[in-house]
């Protein structure tokens, strides 16, 4: 999300939401991938999966039920995070009514990000026998997805387009993130939230002369999601792909 000096109520909303998103992505993201990384192998180690699946449930029911239950737990954590956001906004004097729709949409987007991270964790859990190893690998993957690859793509964007004006650079970033970071829920969310800010150029006449003032206007999350529908779809699709891979493996694995 683009940042600048807080000059209006709308920008204040954007800045606070931005900080909350970053915190939520880091901490809840880690929690989500850790949840997923121990979902199957830890239960095999403890033997609880043998008890659960000796009852009249199918493997698919068990697996998807567990996935949804973990998603629900994280959704509750996201709602808690939203409560913090709303409190922060109230603190700077913004009425809750104005941002209610955005808070709901943001919660849903964050839930989608978390479900994607859980699904990535499930892949580790289904393919790696030891829960300890799987946890380590999952955390490494999280930081690669969250920090390393986006930083590398940012570097590439900067190197390739060093002399490009700032507003053009933003468009290139959206393109690169969509094309090369399609697998990263964090990158897709960033593209969507970046689109909540629209650049507004104003001609200002002063005693010193006429100049252009650039500021950012908050257009709301719903508009951003409509503009960046492809990124929302990518998040949905990749969640299903990750979950599909993990499910495919789980339905074939020996639970001993």
């Amino acid at each position: 999300m683009k940042q600048g000096n807080v000059t209006s109520e709308k920008e204040a909303i954007a800045v606070i939401i931005n900080h909350v998103i970053n915190m939520a992505l880091l901490f809840l993201g880690i929690l989500a991938i850790v949840f997923g990384a121990g979902a199957v192998n830890k239960e095999i180690e403890d033997g609880t999966i043998r008890i659960a699946l000796s009852k009249s449930v199918t493997r698919l029911e068990y697996f998807l039920g567990k996935f949804l239950a973990q998603g629900l737990v994280l959704f509750l954590a996201i709602i808690l995070t939203s409560a913090v956001t709303v409190t922060g906004l109230k603190w700077v004097g913004v009425g809750v009514g104005k941002i209610f729709t955005d808070v709901v949409l943001l919660n849903l987007l964050l839930l989608l990000v978390m479900l994607e991270f859980i699904a990535i964790g499930y892949i580790m859990s289904a393919f790696i026998r030891s829960s300890g190893t799987s946890l380590g690998v999952a955390l490494a993957v999280f930081f690669v997805i969250y920090l390393v690859i986006p930083a590398y793509v940012d570097y590439k964007i900067y190197v390739a387009n060093e002399k490009m004006p700032r507003e053009e650079l933003g468009k290139i970033k959206e393109e690169y993130y969509t094309k090369y970071l399609f697998f990263s829920p964090v990158a897709q969310l960033e593209v969507i939230t970046d689109s909540t800010m629209k650049e507004v150029t104003k001609r200002v006449v002063s005693s010193h002369g006429v100049y252009e003032s650039i500021s950012y206007e908050y257009v709301g999350l719903w508009n951003a999601m409509k503009t960046r529908a492809v990124n929302v779809m990518l998040m949905l699709a990749m969640t299903l792909v990750y979950l599909g891979i993990a499910t495919w493996r789980f339905l074939r694995m020996d639970l001993r």
Partner: protein, 305 residues
């Protein structure tokens, strides 16, 4: 009740089940014996669809649930509704109480709330955990955990009870109570598939025994028949004490003197009557006679060798 035909399971380069055949009729307590790594747990996990054998067939309650590498999921789920399974190594959910555990498991079987509550009380009383029904499982001793594992296996009033090394970790009192529960379940008409390496337990509670070695069933019969067969092959050992010395030079049997007028006689058959006649022909009398029965452990060790 259970029919297994030519079941094969290979883990990388280990052939855990090598064409296993098994047939367990209704209402019996079947002891499944074998040394470590013989394929006992692999067999049980296959029956429950928890691992995928590569070949063979599994029939449960008359329905073919597995054939040539594929489980029929709907038939398997129906069959599992009538099975109670107690795994060998398992920790139950530590943060739940016994009542909550049985409630969760009852829900998995689709049991209505009133039924779950009624069964939970009945079962927890049966396994002597009613007093601690609201205590967290994390604070339970090994023996209490084993009893709760049995309780969860009984919650759905199963027709078939599969117990994998159920008495591991129990103290003598716990073992005695456990055996009593198994006997009660047998009286209630349940079929019990009991895997163990503790032969004394199997001998006491099982009607039929199957011995698995290297993934193959090498013996399956009633304990009485197994003993008889073993005696036939290994020979009867009879210890006798006579009122005066006996000259055994004309006897066809292998006789070893054990002390004053005491002898160990080993013969290929039950020769107790012939022995009386032989001793009488020497003008002597048998004062005591003891037929040394082999324990299941001796038979088992002999088979495994």
């Amino acid at each position: 009740m259970i029919t297994v035909e030519n079941l094969v399971k290979v883990y990388k380069d280990v052939r855990a089940l090598d064409g296993l055949n098994l047939s367990i009729p209704d209402g019996v307590v079947y002891g499944f014996l074998g040394p470590n790594g013989a394929g006992k747990s692999t067999t049980i996990l296959s029956l429950l669809g928890l691992i995928f054998p590569q070949e063979g067939r599994i029939n449960l309650f008359g329905e073919e649930v597995f054939r040539d590498g594929k489980f029929d999921e709907s038939k398997l789920v129906k069959a599992k509704a009538r099975i109670g399974y107690m795994p060998e190594h398992a920790t139950l959910w530590e943060f739940l109480t016994p009542l909550q555990t049985l409630n969760v498991i009852g829900k998995a079987f689709g049991m209505p709330k009133t039924e779950r509550e009624r069964r939970a009380e009945e079962i927890l009383k049966l396994v002597n955990l009613w007093e601690v029904k609201n205590k967290k499982v994390g604070k339970f001793s090994k023996g209490m955990r084993q009893r709760l594992l049995l309780a969860q296996a009984l919650i759905n009033d199963p027709k078939l009870l599969i117990l994998d090394e159920p008495m591991t970790g129990l103290d003598p009192k716990g073992i005695a109570e456990f055996k009593e529960i198994i006997r009660e379940q047998r009286k209630a008409g349940k079929t019990i598939f009991f895997s163990s390496h503790i032969l004394a337990h199997v001998e006491e509670v099982c009607d039929t025994v199957g011995v698995i070695v290297k993934g193959k069933l090498i013996l399956e019969d009633s304990i009485e028949n197994i003993k008889r067969e073993f005696l036939r092959k290994a020979g009867y050992t009879i210890i006798i004490e006579t009122n005066r010395p006996v000259n055994w030079s004309s006897a066809e049997w292998n006789v070893t003197p054990l002390g004053e007028n005491r002898y160990r006689v080993v013969a290929p058959d039950d020769i107790r009557e012939e022995l009386h006649d032989f001793v009488a022909s020497q003008g002597a009398k048998i004062l005591t006679m003891q037929v040394k029965e082999p324990s299941l452990e001796e038979i088992f060790l002999n088979l495994v060798k």
